[in-house]
Symmetry: D2
């Protein structure tokens, strides 16, 4: 059986090929004479599968799509507070090349407009960095996200530098407002370099997938950017990524995104996938005309809208009741409730487990409730738990404390140590084992035997 995904992507490209609106950027000749027949799409899952169609190996300059990655670098290099002190996070309602400074602070409204991107570039690699250090830091970071060494489109770099009057204007303004302290000319040069990095949609899809995957590159597994920085970058892409039509994009497409003047667009859907499109003709907003159409179609066809409720699967709690014929040192059968926590567990999953435990075991002070209130031992299985976020961890530990207070024995099946017990008083820590069989042995005694095992539907 062959996967239908590649075929689907080919179909999507064919469907948008009839769109012939717009024109390539014409402010420099090297972009103006782009081959407007080029069309490509790529999609990378957070576990590293990449699907692509069309001219997916054709390289083009990354342009403004570099902005979120530079923003991520700046947050990494000087800290979020220092970044927020110089660049805001509000949509400007203006075009990308407007100054759009906040009253009072002189901060550019956000890092996705050029003024904010210049201010962001100036923070990369820290306060003492030289121009070349900033540039190399960004190339290296973007390469780590793409999973290969990226280079530059020199023709684009040279043409843009020659004609960068507006960015020079913005940079001098930022210097006047105290937002940048380096030489304006150096910042503009570095920013133009940053924008001239050469990429394919494959690269971009993996870079977007790195954001979607909490900063971990899907193929290399390397934590390229800290998770908190990623959240900030995705937030800003949501409200400011598509220039002056934030609300429209969020309503229609619902994927944090960023476009570039060479015709690229990326989208990063948290926890799911990164996508990238390329087609040089731009619409009136400066976004790739066919690219937008591809994004709208992918979002609709594939249900990628982030407000789509079905996006979010709750972690699953599976309840079993195991009856153990007593093993060594035990007499009689033991009826043991087993709670399996499956998937990526966050508040919802932890809450569901907590609620189930409270329901099944009852309150120690309330003799009547809870169909397992007689159980003296409980098995908690993390075998199929992918991950626990902070709140889930805290809730599980609190559950362990309360079960201990109720004088129940807990055995934790957690071969990978998903649940970090270090903050729990050692005296209250449960026994941790690697397999179900071990857990059963702890409760039922060595060589105990499963007499019955069935899903517990009791409530």
């Amino acid at each position: 059986m062959r996967s239908p995904v590649p075929d689907y992507l080919v179909d999507v490209l064919d469907a948008v090929r009839s769109i012939d609106d717009g024109a390539p950027a014409d402010y420099i000749e090297v972009l103006a004479k782009a081959d407007t027949s080029r069309l490509a799409v790529a999609l990378a899952t957070v576990d590293g599968e990449v699907y692509a169609a069309g001219d997916s190996d054709v390289a083009f300059s990354i342009q403004s799509i570099s902005k979120p990655f530079a923003y991520a670098a700046a947050i990494e290099d000087v800290g979020l507070d220092a970044v927020l002190a110089r660049i805001g996070v509000e949509p400007s309602g203006n075009a990308f090349n407007e100054l759009s400074l906040e009253d009072g602070t002189h901060r550019p409204m956000n890092p996705m407009i050029n003024a904010g991107a210049l201010a962001t570039h100036a923070l990369v690699a820290g306060p003492d960095a030289s121009g070349p250090q900033r540039v190399e830091r960004l190339r290296t970071l973007m390469s780590a996200m793409a999973g290969r060494e990226l280079g530059y489109d020199e023709a684009v770099y040279e043409a843009e530098l020659r004609d960068a009057h507006r960015n020079r204007g913005l940079a001098h303004m930022l210097r006047a407002g105290g937002i940048i302290t380096a030489e304006a000319e150096t910042i503009v040069d570095g920013y133009v370099r940053q924008c001239s990095v050469d990429v394919t949609v494959r690269d971009l899809a993996l870079m977007a997938a790195t954001l979607a995957n909490g900063g971990v590159q899907p193929l290399t597994g390397r934590q390229v950017i800290h998770r908190d920085g990623v959240r900030q970058v995705l937030s800003v892409m949501t409200t400011c990524g598509m220039y002056d039509a934030a609300g429209d994009w969020v309503s229609n497409v619902g994927i944090p995104a960023k476009s570039g003047v060479a015709g690229g667009i990326i989208g990063a859907l948290p926890g799911q996938l990164g996508l990238a499109v390329f087609s040089p003709k731009l619409d009136a907003h400066g976004n790739s005309a066919r690219g937008v159409a591809v994004c709208e179609r992918l979002s609709r066809d594939m249900g990628l809208h982030m407000m789509d409720v079905s996006q979010i699967g709750r972690a699953v709690v599976r309840k079993l009741v195991v009856t153990l014929a007593g093993g060594k040192g035990r007499t009689g059968d033991a009826i043991v409730p087993v709670y399996e926590l499956r998937g990526a567990v966050l508040f919802g999953g932890a809450e569901l487990l907590t609620r189930t435990l409270a329901h099944d075991l009852g309150d120690a002070n309330d003799a009547g409730a809870g169909h397992h209130r007689e159980a003296t031992a409980v098995i908690l299985s993390q075998l199929h738990t992918h991950s626990l976020n902070d709140v889930a961890t805290r809730m599980l530990l609190e559950n362990l404390r309360r079960l201990h207070a109720d004088r129940r024995t807990v055995v934790l099946v957690d071969p990978d140590g998903v649940l970090d017990l270090t903050s729990l008083d050692p005296a209250r820590r449960p026994r941790v084992v690697a397999t179900d069989a071990e857990a059963q042995a702890v409760v039922g005694g060595d060589a105990c035997r499963i007499v019955a095992s069935q899903e517990d539907t009791g409530r």
Copy 2:
């Protein structure tokens, strides 16, 4: 064991009680003299569990928190296109009571500012509705979401109507611009009624949870609002819900939200939960000062930020290999791969299953690949599949087509009919059964027996 969640909520309230900034709204006396010591929080999961702390049974007027619900009603009653023709979706960057019309169209910028909310109210219950019909439609809808009959705070209604100069101004302006056609005075009266609905944080949490649950009221299970409308409402809450600080709220809290002048705030995290807070003192933006603090703390403590990657658990594909000792009419053992799709499945889950099938079974034209390439039958289990979205359904059907083309037998365990097969050519439809045992019998013959069953880790 008692759940720690209520204790946590009490702690959160205690932590913010020291915040004494701000003042209650003072434009009408009935709000100005509110008991500023009131403080409450409630949290409702999408499966209907409600946790609450503080003054969770104290009622207050819903005020602007009614806006997203009225927007949902308008979309339901006249259709999204008709709504978008009259009201935009862009953040205005202005205060809630600014006119903020778009050039050219005269559309209010979005439905969360007063001008847009008045225009929204005018669409409720359709073009021929009377004032009382619009009002009753909204009360009924909000009651259905809260799960109880809601009433009005008459004192608030009368005081606000007396002093509604600004809203009268806005309504006449909208009439002048052709956005509304009803009498301005009638619209203002109805809007003031809508804002005077009396609610508690419990009510609001359930109303928010209804949004978070795709329009299905968690307790009654009724589809109160169509899923597409919910997506639109949540999108607009994301970019416009907290007035002039959209970017800041998305970055810091990351939950689609709406606040009201009486001191309430709701948040709706898609697929997870609804929350509500109440405290009458407002900050400079007009949002409840303690309420904002509670939201920030809940988001941080509970990992509720929608850009937090860990939010989204991928659907799980569980692979087993079952060896069946032949039953009636069979000889020899059959080694049958079993694919269980668990959780809410959307593109990511379907893609993972697809990829797994392609990997295990190999391409029909490629003799070498696939460790199960010899398998003539495959069991596909939807037993633990909560739901399939459109794209997942389409992908699964496509998988069935391709497996059929490869001449493999597929047995589908799907007691609840989660996978809709109607669009599949009857000749290609798999056999559908209700239990694993039935599936095994289909493949291995009646009375076949499981000789071995183990997780398949082959790749």
Copy 3:
């Protein structure tokens, strides 16, 4: 000989008749169906001569041209400070019907936009006035300026009142901001009445000439509006009269002006004339297309631009030297310098006389200078002095004090008492006479005889 002015005006109308751009206002039918062939111009000098051409006796509704007159009335009735507390004076850069309130104060930007005009109307006739009293106050004032009883165009009044949604919106907003306290509906009704006053270009030209003449109606000589109020009105017409193109109008036409939606425009050139045009088709700015062309042509042809330096004639000082053969009780000839101050004297004229006196008579402490330093008597003639402004009066009195200190006799020829001597110490007051002959008699004795009289060109 017949005056060429009427012929010139006819020529101007003929020249603009080919302009066929624009369309009459179409928001109410009674304006939409205006006879667009109507074309008229009138010009009234500050001494009451009225020239007119075209349909100068056709009446039309005054509309926004009433705004400066209502502003004048408000200043008169509640004082400038109270007016400025509620309405600003800055150009808004927006269309006439924008809200354009100042941040913080909620003041409409200026009284020439609708919001400001509504706020102005509310101040007319003082805080306790009723709606009908405000309306009648304005009709009476405008009638006094036009020099005849003005009435209303009832069809326009009724149609506009029916459709005044936007003005209702503005009025409610102003009430919300505390700028007006009366019922919004009453203010809108009164304002619509104010705008429906029926006028001809003759009326408007005389009303404008009243402004140009410092508030004195040219024909009746009645001081209809206080001079300070007039200055304020003309200042605001200069910067805000032609809506969103203040700078353009000041540069091109250079006459304080105001236009109305029925096709009228007035211009008031301080000290010189009032003009009015009428043609119903409006340009994109909402100003009469032919009317603007007439104004530009009149300004250019007639040199009416207020920054045209040649506008301002300096008051003339005429110096004579009269040799008197001694009359009764005198022996020998007396050579007496005579200083005639001609025209409307303000700082420039007074300064010129002062400088001349200082030059001719020399400093008492400086024996050498001044070719009339021997003169013991000086005749100062105000016979041809039209008026003295405050500074000129103060300077002349100071001259009299200094001449007295220098022990020179001054005789003042001032039959009309143009120079007010009351603030001068009686001991230092000069002898005041009615004719040159009397003055000569005072200096040369009764029955003295002029032996020679010649212009004094000495310097």
Copy 4:
């Protein structure tokens, strides 16, 4: 007798000395450490008298006060149309250093904000000028206006150039928008030079008086700037000179003005005078705090508000009736009406003469009217006519044509040729003489004698 004007100016300075608000500009040290006790005022009449008080010989950098002069130079050097194509004339409502470009055209809003001033500088001396040529052109022009060679404050120049980040930003932006084509750096350098010209209040008062005098330097009599350019400059100073408070300044002070950051302010009252003030402490708008107070006081005390009706004296028509006892070749007395036109004559004066002639002489077709209808000869005296503007000239010529058509003899007393007769058909030209006596001789014959001469009050 000594003139009281200098004493008055000293009093004004004493009165404002108590104002201690504000602070000197602090963006460069050389301005920040200015001697804030400095205070000076100067006043120059359009005929060249200069009054001064305080530190009137202390030099300071001209700064933004150079803007109107550079604007005048640009208009002179490339023409008004070319200037308007690049720089608008509308008040921006923003601070001086805002970009404030018009949508679409990218034109700076006006030449008084920095962006417009940079664009203006770039036009000086024409399209092919070098940086030094532009700078020298401006220094030379300003020197010609001041009446002495002006130099530079090198310390200010160097400090400002070092810190001109914002102006660099603006210049690069203007280059990006195609408004300037020269190197941004060169324009900024030249503009900083232009702003560093060293002046005293005496210089500035004469420079302003040159504008007030239609471009003619009062002392040298040289036409430094063309009259049309002056009108444009004064118009723009009126609406844009005092930054974001155009309406307020026009209402309160009513004098076209410009301020500079070193503490200077100039005002130019058309036809009357130029004034200049200096005091380094600036108010919140960036204008000299004491300087503004001096301007308000001068305007109020001296009646300088340009909307003050009394500003404008009408030209005077003096009518005499001379009875001549016949001279050589004549018999009997001749009663001859004499019309003297006095002062600067423009439309108003010409209209008054026209009206008088039409009244006195009557219509040729209307036998009854006109008390001088029998007069066969008329004397028109221009002896005291300072000047005639275009419209006055055209009207007088038309009067001559009509008098000729009525078969009356006209004798023109016009020794200086104030009335240009070249456009009049030679056959219709009146006899032109130099003195009243000659005129009488023409009418009454040589050796005729004046029997009676009296003012004609007939009407």
